[in-house]
Structure formats: C-alpha cells, structure tokens
C-alpha cells in the first residue's frame, strides 16, 4: 500500500522512500529513532527503545551519513534475479553508535577492506505500482584523494 502523497495530486510521483520513515530524501539521510531516556539510537526507527525498553519519548532522528566498514563480504552467488557480485557490509556509524547492513559501491571488491570510510547515498530498492522509484540506501566508498 503506497503512502498517500498530498503534495500535488495531479503531478506524477517520481520518488518516495522505500518504506515510510526509512529515509529522508532532501537531504538524503537515514532516519532512526533516539531514546529520550537513554539516548540510544536505532535504525530503522522503532516504537520502543531496545536498550532501556522505554516506549515514550522516542524521537525521529537523522543519522550521520558517514560510516566505516566493520565487516563485509563479496556475494558471488544469490537467488535467481539478483545480479552478482556485490559487496555487502556491516557499516558502523560512529557518531550515532549505530550498525546497519548495506551494500557498498564505489570500489572494486578486491579493494574493500575493514575500517574503510564510506558515506550514505540513496538508491532505488524497488519500483512502486505507480512507477515511482522507491528509494532505499547504500554506502559509497569515500575516495581518499577527495574530501567527499
């Protein structure tokens, strides 16, 4: 069920988040929740705090877009319809103390290593019934020569 878009009923919907509340589009950010009691952040956002079990005082929060690779693999076999190879990683966001799973692009698989700095970008996860791009997330290796 696509979320209702109230911005302009006559204009075609081009892009929207893969799931409501997962990402913000402008600026591109992951959306998490942060506990008002113990400050623990989680992604994706939850209705409870997994650390202290509070169910009130949780606030939506934009997560830092910079991360580093905690571990990764090069997937070389996947179910039919999934193009291989691709790099899948556990990405740590040190500023928010959040770890999440994501694909990583921007480097040859052989060049990926533990601790490599990466940054968030949005990417289509699927196409909606109305043709809209449903945006999810991935991380891109930061080129050491540039200040990305």
């Amino acid at each position: 069920m696509p979320p209702t878009n109230t911005s302009d009923a006559s204009a075609p919907v081009r892009t929207r988040p893969f799931r409501e509340g997962l990402v913000s589009l402008e600026p591109p950010r992951l959306l998490g929740s942060r506990c008002g009691a113990c400050a623990t952040a989680t992604f994706p956002p939850r209705e409870f705090c997994p650390a202290c079990r509070a169910v009130e005082g949780l606030e939506k929060t934009e997560l830092d877009r910079r991360g580093r690779i905690h571990s990764f693999t090069v997937v070389r076999q996947a179910p039919p319809g999934v193009a291989v190879p691709y790099v899948l990683a556990w990405v740590d966001l040190p500023a928010d103390q959040v770890r999440l799973m994501s694909t990583v692009v921007g480097a040859e698989p052989e060049a990926v290593e533990l601790g490599l700095p990466v940054e968030l970008e949005l990417t289509p996860f699927a196409t909606g019934e109305d043709g809209a791009e449903l945006l999810g997330f991935r991380f891109r290796v930061i080129d050491g020569e540039e200040n990305a």
Binding site: P44, P50, T73, Q77, P79, P94, Q97, V98, T103, L114
Partner: protein, 384 residues
C-alpha cells in the same frame, strides 16, 4: 520450575539428499514416521498426536502427512521456526507430555527444498534485510571475516570444520554426503560469499526425521520397560534487537539459549559429552559453540583445526556430519539431531559413536530478523 522429561521410544529417518519431485514431502515424512514407529514398536492406534516441523511445506502439511501415515483425525500441529522448526516441534511435544495432555506423540521434521529453492535461502520479503540484498551465506561470511580479524584465526582453521564433519558422516547411513573431503578442496571450492566457498555451506536438501516421544505412562502403553534416552528439556529463545557497535560475534543469543538449556534440564555445560551443532556454515559452528560457553571465546576455529571437536577429541561436535554433510532440509534438521542424540545415547551409532556418551546437546538456529542477533534458537538436552 522443571518439567518432566520426554522419553524417546523410537527414532527414524529417511536419508537426506536430493530426490526427484515425485519423492514428495508427504512421502518422506511418512517414511521417517514409519521408521520411528517401528523402532518404538508402536501401533498407529497408540499415538495420541502429531507435531510436524517444516518451513516450505505449505498449509496443513502435517495433516497431509497424517492422512498418508494413518494418523488422520488425531490432533496435528504445524511448527515453523525456520531452521529450528523440527526442534520447536520437539519442544512443543515435550511440553504437552509434561502437561499430561498426551502420553505418546510422534514428532516429524520434514522439508522438500530441491524443487523450490535455488541459489541459497534468504529472509522473508517483508524483512528489511531482504531489500538490502542479504542472503544467509553473506551474514556468515561477514561473521567469518570479522572473526579472523578479531582473533587471528585463519581461513584454514575455519575450513577445518567442513573437513571434520565430512569425515564424520562417512559413518552415517542417513547422510547426504558420505565421502571425506580435503582441506584443499574446501579452500579451492567455488566462492559463494567471500571468504566462504561452496564447501563452507550446507547444501539445499530434501529429507525427513521422526521421533516417538512418551510420558512414563506412554512407555507402559508401548510395553517398553528398559531405560530409553530422555529429552530433559528444550530451550527456546529469539534474537534480540542489537544496539551499539559491539562484537559482531558476541553470540549473546547462543549464550541465552544455553542458559535456558541448563536451567530447564538441570544439566551443566561441563556434563555435555557431545554436541549436534547447527553448522549451516563452517563459521557458524565455531561462534555458536563459543556463545554456548562450551569452547573458549576466540578459540573455536583453532579447536576444530586441532581436532578437539572431532570424534575422539575432548568435545566431539557433529558426529552425524552436521548440516554441512548430513544435509540440511531445514525443517527436518532439528528432528534429525534428536535422532542422532538418541542413537548416540543408546550406543548404537556405529563408526561415529562417541564412546561413553551419557549427556548430549543439540542446537538449532533458525532464520534472521533485521536488526537482531537471530531468529529462533533451540537447545535440546538429552541423557541416557
């Protein structure tokens, strides 16, 4: 609180493997059921109920099986906890016996996979991990890479788990693979999710396993007087939502499953003589044994390479060949582990017998849930 043990009156399997499409789920389950009933010397009329674990069998698979076996009309329940489905069915049967609801029940784990699964298993499409591109092999590959970095373990040490388990199943007539493999074969196999290759991964399999579980009154009904192996308790826990940037291989879910097992069974970890461990991937055996506290943290891969977890070692793990070599028809695996423990505790496991086995543990882990350290984990403690 402790529940009464369940007595294992009979155990039976059909060999795991890849069968043609006409070897259906119902046919395999019926074969395992008849073998277990024959092993127990039980007639159809003596069975009070049927507990069936499966994942891909579809609606009322257990009732379809009951109608093939001749247990139609009886209470039948279907249990889905992904790869822990068979063990979860064992747990529910144990609880029903302890509660006095039934005295003789049949538990079947069954799966028909080779005609419907290819390229590996993945989470439910509703789980965020599926959208990200997660496949099970990838999660274990990331576990392995981090394990090597954190503990100085080598690729060869992790591969030793596959060599060991394939050596064990040479002696298991119910195993999908019964040939030894070399370290070089494991290291040189086609890459699936680096650093793991094909022989680090359990196969996609068909198969079924069944046990007849009884209360003391049920044993009398079947005319069994001598001691039979007992299920002392079955722990069940689920993955917990993770926070922070801690140890990727902390295996807190395994630690909690172990504590449930010790609490429910009254057995301590020092008393375990052998383990049937859910080695869906080589590294999984390593980190889960550590999580249970049965192998020192960070030493599991070295233990495998040094032979400590082989038959004849200080704590044999997967004398059956495990999932890697016995095969892994997901819903059947937990029931197959209980069959193996039954044979080990009877002392009838032949060339793979663990000498003097008195107390044993079987561990299953089923599925993944985004953001948690697992889906379901079961721990079955048995004694002779």
């Amino acid at each position: 609180m402790s529940l009464a043990p369940a007595h294992v009156a009979g155990a039976g399997m059909v060999r795991f493997g890849k069968y043609p499409a006409d070897v259906t789920l119902e046919r395999m389950a019926a074969g395992a059921a008849r073998a277990a009933l024959a092993d127990a010397g039980a007639d159809l009329g003596q069975v009070d109920g049927l507990y069936v674990g499966h994942v891909f069998g579809g609606p009322v698979a257990g009732q379809r099986v009951a109608a093939q076996v001749g247990l139609d009309g009886r209470p039948v329940s279907n249990h889905e906890n992904y790869c822990a489905s068979g063990a979860t069915a064992v747990r529910e049967a144990w609880v029903a016996l302890a509660a006095g609801l039934h005295d003789v029940v049949l538990v079947i784990g069954v799966e028909k996979m080779t005609d419907r699964i290819s390229g590996g298993v993945r989470p439910d499409p509703g789980d965020l991990d599926a959208a990200v591109g997660y496949v099970m092999a990838a999660g274990h590959a990331m576990s392995a890479r981090r394990y090597m970095a954190d503990h100085g373990a080598t690729r060869e040490q992790i591969a030793a788990v596959a060599v060991k388990n394939h050596a064990h199943s040479v002696h298991n007539p119910f195993a999908q693979y019964r040939k030894p493999i070399s370290l070089e074969q494991v290291l040189g196999a086609r890459q699936i999710a680096e650093p793991l290759g094909l022989l680090d991964c359990s196969p996609i399999s068909d198969g079924a396993a069944a046990v007849v579980l009884c209360s003391p009154a049920g044993l009398r009904r079947l005319g069994l007087s001598g001691p039979v192996p007992r299920v002392l308790g079955v722990g069940l826990v689920s993955g917990a939502v993770q926070t922070g940037l801690g140890d990727l291989n902390a295996e807190d879910v395994s630690r909690r499953a172990g504590e449930e097992a010790w609490k429910l069974s009254g057995v301590g970890p020092d008393e375990i003589d052998l383990v049937e461990m859910h080695d869906c991937f080589t590294i999984a055996e390593v980190v889960r044994m550590e999580g249970l506290g049965l192998v020192p943290h960070g030493r599991g891969a070295a233990w495998a390479a040094d032979g400590h977890t082989a038959l004849g070692g200080r704590l044999p793990v997967n004398p059956s060949g495990g999932l890697l070599s016995r095969g892994h028809p997901v819903g059947a695996t937990g029931a197959a582990q209980v069959c193996e423990l039954t044979w080990q505790l009877r002392g009838t496991a032949g060339g793979r017998q663990v000498d003097g086995a008195r107390t044993a543990l079987a561990y299953c882990k089923g599925g993944t849930v985004n953001g948690t350290d697992g889906g379901s984990v079961t721990t079955v403690v048995m004694a002779r």
